[in-house]
């Protein structure tokens, strides 16, 4: 039993690592294609059919590029920062159920690495640690723009941690558990049971905060190309930069898994159709990240802080209080 569990877990970890590293590459392809189509362009077309092998070309380029450590940087911290981003992104995946449990050759597989009873707390905590990637990378880079980006990153991530935590608190109060599997089972009854109907405010707040947590376009000021070059990634090249990239895209995918799990019924009753619907929801939320990047402008850092502390946080607190009153009476 123990060995079987160990082997199963190792296989799951390797599968998640491989699949989501590949998906991160594929995500860049989708992003470039979707953005191109929305801007009446074609996107990558020349490498492979419809540019599909562009990912391979980019991967070869990233892997074989010289690993440059510029003079003046704090080399040790500079080297470790991208690893923190990528590692924390993948560590958060440990508590996410990616699919309903299924039977493979008479062996029941739970596609979750570890169903710990503090799942959401763990994910939020690990995502909070993810802040150290941009922060340390930016501070160690000996570059003004990287430093600005690190400061912004710290401000944004810490502020929006509050929104994420407070907005998710109301659903947690309703479900009475921190495990994402319990969240899914709470909503297993069908569309009518989805938490989004009872917690629409929390859903919108969490969704908005997800953009800040992943640093995507309306809140992309951590690495805003037109004012601070690539932010904390300015001095990075080759695979170290690639690790930042993989971390960002893996984060987008994992957030896209978490939002439907918490608010939109997840994989429902665990049937094949439910699993398909779940993947559809995940695809929509990932697509929405790309969609907003094509449609919306970035906000200013002060507007972002204003939005967080003066608008979203009071709404989140009021939402929690009202939920508490409704549950009490």
């Amino acid at each position: 039993m123990e060995t079987a569990y160990l082997i199963e877990t190792v296989i799951k970890i390797v599968a998640v690592l491989l699949i989501f590293s590949a998906l991160a590459g594929l995500g860049t392809y989708f992003e470039r294609k979707v953005l191109a189509f929305m801007q009446r362009r074609l996107g990558p077309m020349n490498v492979g059919p419809y540019g599909l092998l562009q990912i391979a070309a980019d991967g070869i380029k990233l892997f074989t590029k010289e690993d440059i450590i510029p003079t003046g940087v704090v080399a040790r911290i500079f080297k470790i920062a991208p690893v923190i981003t990528a590692a924390t992104a993948f560590m958060a995946a440990a508590a996410i159920p990616f699919l309903p449990s299924f039977t493979l050759f008479g062996y029941t597989v739970n596609p979750i690495i570890s169903d710990i009873n503090i799942g959401i707390l763990y994910i939020l905590g690990i995502m909070g640690v993810g802040l150290y990637g941009p922060l340390l990378g930016g501070m160690a880079s000996a570059n003004k723009y990287s430093l600005i980006s690190a400061a912004r990153g710290a401000a944004v991530f810490i502020s929006y941690e509050v929104i994420t935590g407070l907005s998710i608190l109301a659903p947690i109060m309703m479900v009475g558990s921190l495990s994402l599997v319990d969240f899914n089972n709470y909503q297993a009854g069908g569309i009518g049971d989805w938490i989004i109907w009872s917690q629409p405010v929390a859903f919108v707040l969490f969704w908005i905060a997800a953009f800040a947590e992943t640093g995507r376009t309306p809140f992309h000021l951590v690495a805003n190309d037109h004012e601070i070059i690539d932010g904390f990634g300015t001095e990075y090249s080759g695979m170290r930069w690639g690790l930042f990239f993989i971390g960002e895209y893996a984060n987008m995918f994992f957030i896209s898994f978490i939002i439907p799990l918490i608010f939109l019924g997840g994989f429902g009753d665990g049937s094949f159709l439910g699993a398909l619907a779940f993947l559809g929801k995940v695809a929509f939320f990932f697509f929405f990240f790309l969609w907003t990047r094509a449609a919306w402008p970035d906000v200013r850092p002060d507007q972002l802080m204003w939005l967080c502390w003066k608008v979203l946080m009071p709404i989140a607190v009021i939402n929690v209080v009202i939920t508490g009153f409704v549950m009490m009476f």
């Binding site: 189509f37 929305m38 362009r41």
Partner: protein, 209 residues
């Protein structure tokens, strides 16, 4: 400050053209309640969704404007000034260039060099002629000054080279004789060229009034 600006617009009395109108700019709110109202109004106006719809509409319409360059090319205008061409005479298929040297003289970047000699019929002919494309700025003066419409600009704009000083020589620019025989020599339509239907517009000089 803002209200002053409004007054200015009114007192100036801008002559309003037909179909034009002045955009109505609201005053900025100064008190907290006004700012709050503005935030609520902007939040619920749904402009973000308009933006989302616009890009989604373009994606669904799939009206792609990309030209996949090496495979597809835009048509270029007849007056396009790319790599030079040397034309042949329409009547005799011989070279139009008379070796007058005007193009060499007028070239402002000194990229044209030519050498002439007398041929066996005691006619002047061009023995050497080269254009340094590394220096040429494609201003078109050579084509403009040419009295015989011999040197013109062509449409060949892809001139990548192994060296910066890429030369073209007379033989490369001259219309190939088989193309000339087939009647496919393209006349330059740009400045200095003959306008279409020139023959019909020629008026005979009257002998007496």
């Amino acid at each position: 400050m803002h209200s002053e600006h409004n007054e200015q617009v009114i007192t100036k009395e801008v002559p309003v053209k037909k179909g034009y109108y002045l955009v109505d700019i609201e005053d900025y709110p100064t008190d907290g309640w006004g700012k709050f109202k503005r935030v609520v109004k902007r939040t619920l106006r749904g402009e973000l969704f308009v933006g989302l719809w616009v890009v989604l509409r373009e994606m669904i319409k799939f009206d792609i404007h990309t030209i996949q360059y090496p495979a597809e090319k835009m048509p270029i205008g007849p007056r396009y000034r790319a790599v030079h061409e040397m034309k042949r005479l329409l009547e005799s298929d011989t070279e139009r260039c008379i070796g007058c040297g005007l193009c060499e003289k007028i070239c402002i970047s000194n990229c044209i060099r030519m050498d002439t000699r007398y041929d066996e019929n005691s006619r002047k002919e061009v023995s050497e002629y080269s254009i340094n494309l590394g220096r040429c700025i494609f201003c078109g003066y050579c084509a403009e000054v040419c009295p015989e419409l011999a040197i013109t600009h062509g449409g060949r704009y892809e001139n990548a080279s192994e060296q910066r000083e890429h030369f073209i020589v007379y033989e490369d620019m001259l219309t190939p004789i088989d193309q000339m025989k087939a009647g496919t020599q393209q006349e330059f339509q740009g400045f200095g060229s003959i306008t279409p239907h020139e023959d019909e517009r020629v008026k005979k000089t009257p002998l007496a009034y």
